[in-house]
Subunit: 262 residues, 2 copies
Amino acid sequence: MRNFKLVVAYDGTRYHGFQIQKGTRLPTIQGTLEQALTILTKEEIKITGAGRTDAGVHAQGQVVNFLSNTLVPVERFPLAVNSLLPEDIVVLQAEEVPVDFHACFSAERKTYCYTFYNSRMRDPFCRYFAFRVPVSLDLTEMNKACRLFVGEHDFSGFCASGSAVKNFTRTIYNCFIEKEDKIIRFLVTGNGFLYNMVRIMAGTLLEIGQGKRKAEDVANLLQKGQRKLSGITLPPQGLCLLSVGYDENTLTQPATCIKINQ
Amino acid sequence: MRNFKLVVAYDGTRYHGFQIQKGTRLPTIQGTLEQALTILTKEEIKITGAGRTDAGVHAQGQVVNFLSNTLVPVERFPLAVNSLLPEDIVVLQAEEVPVDFHACFSAERKTYCYTFYNSRMRDPFCRYFAFRVPVSLDLTEMNKACRLFVGEHDFSGFCASGSAVKNFTRTIYNCFIEKEDKIIRFLVTGNGFLYNMVRIMAGTLLEIGQGKRKAEDVANLLQKGQRKLSGITLPPQGLCLLSVGYDENTLTQPATCIKINQ
């Protein structure tokens, strides 16, 4: 049995999230990828994703893996799978990895980006890729708040209710706000994220940027651990899974590693 | 009667071009704008556009004008019209202009951009806004060819057949190629453009960039004036009407000039 790791980018606009929804035929990223891989390998393929992005959430560097006996050379995977995929999903890289590699459990860190479009005026070109904020934001305060997220914390206050997770402790390695013209990006890297965690962090930072909260509130919110005290959950279209990192030591030298020059 | 000038941006993806198509109910930019303006002014509004962009072509700075007796203050137009428009069309500016101002006939220059996405790999995020070229291009040769377009020429060789136009002479003021990471932009400013002219110029430049033609061919193509000798017409999604310029002297001081801070 061979284990394949794929790096995948997608525009999540028309998908009902990453994960296949039982009992419905709504399009999902997982379902669409599995269909293409099943055609290519002539085996029924089940993939595992590093992160289960919600409906409308995008990815520049989602990682999936799957087991297969296919004889298709790994270097042929990106172009072959892409020829079977719709225009809004693309396989960027493929490599063969050890059988114990698991896209989700082996992941050491993930980086998400939440994008704001800061303008009084709508922009017809970024409506599916950013959340528009018509008022000016205090980026210094937002960055001060970002620094309070860094480190190991209980993120119960930043998790949507109804989550089945029992351990709410996560470590944030890096967290900051950057601005480029009208685009404001909130970038966050951590060892894992709870359900809706980035969207609630972004919503809380937005309220801080608007002066509705103090940056120092973040310490309090982390300590109290009550969802209702934190900011709103921002809509999905601003969110993008940028990359998933793996400890290189847990991967033996892969049989082949292909990165197509973009 | 008051004359209003609007600057409009739109994502042309789901529209059947700027101009209302007689006998069909397919959505057009003109039809959608007229509907919103008719609701706002409570008069049947007919707009004139500076350029009739094709289906799938975008605009960052299309200009339209219309006559109306409305008492709505011009400074209220952008936000009021935008509240009646779908997310993919936005009015950026509104001003009152002299009654003889005509968005098309008064236009002194237009700037178009044709965007290439230069990568072996598809990008799910720019599929509606760029034309993908998987091979590397000789930008120096393309820019050499661009310089041959500058000046007053007969562009018969760069006009789709079946055009009703009789005068094929147009003046190109500026024309160049620029690259930013995987994005290559062809920018061209002229006093007017024939049907499909920018897309045929872009198609010819692409063949030059690929080494299929010499940059010097452009002089020959302009002289011969035969459409079949020029390059292919590239698809619409790469094209965007960036701006339309008017001679400031032909406009008397407008009653009010509103530009909402973006």
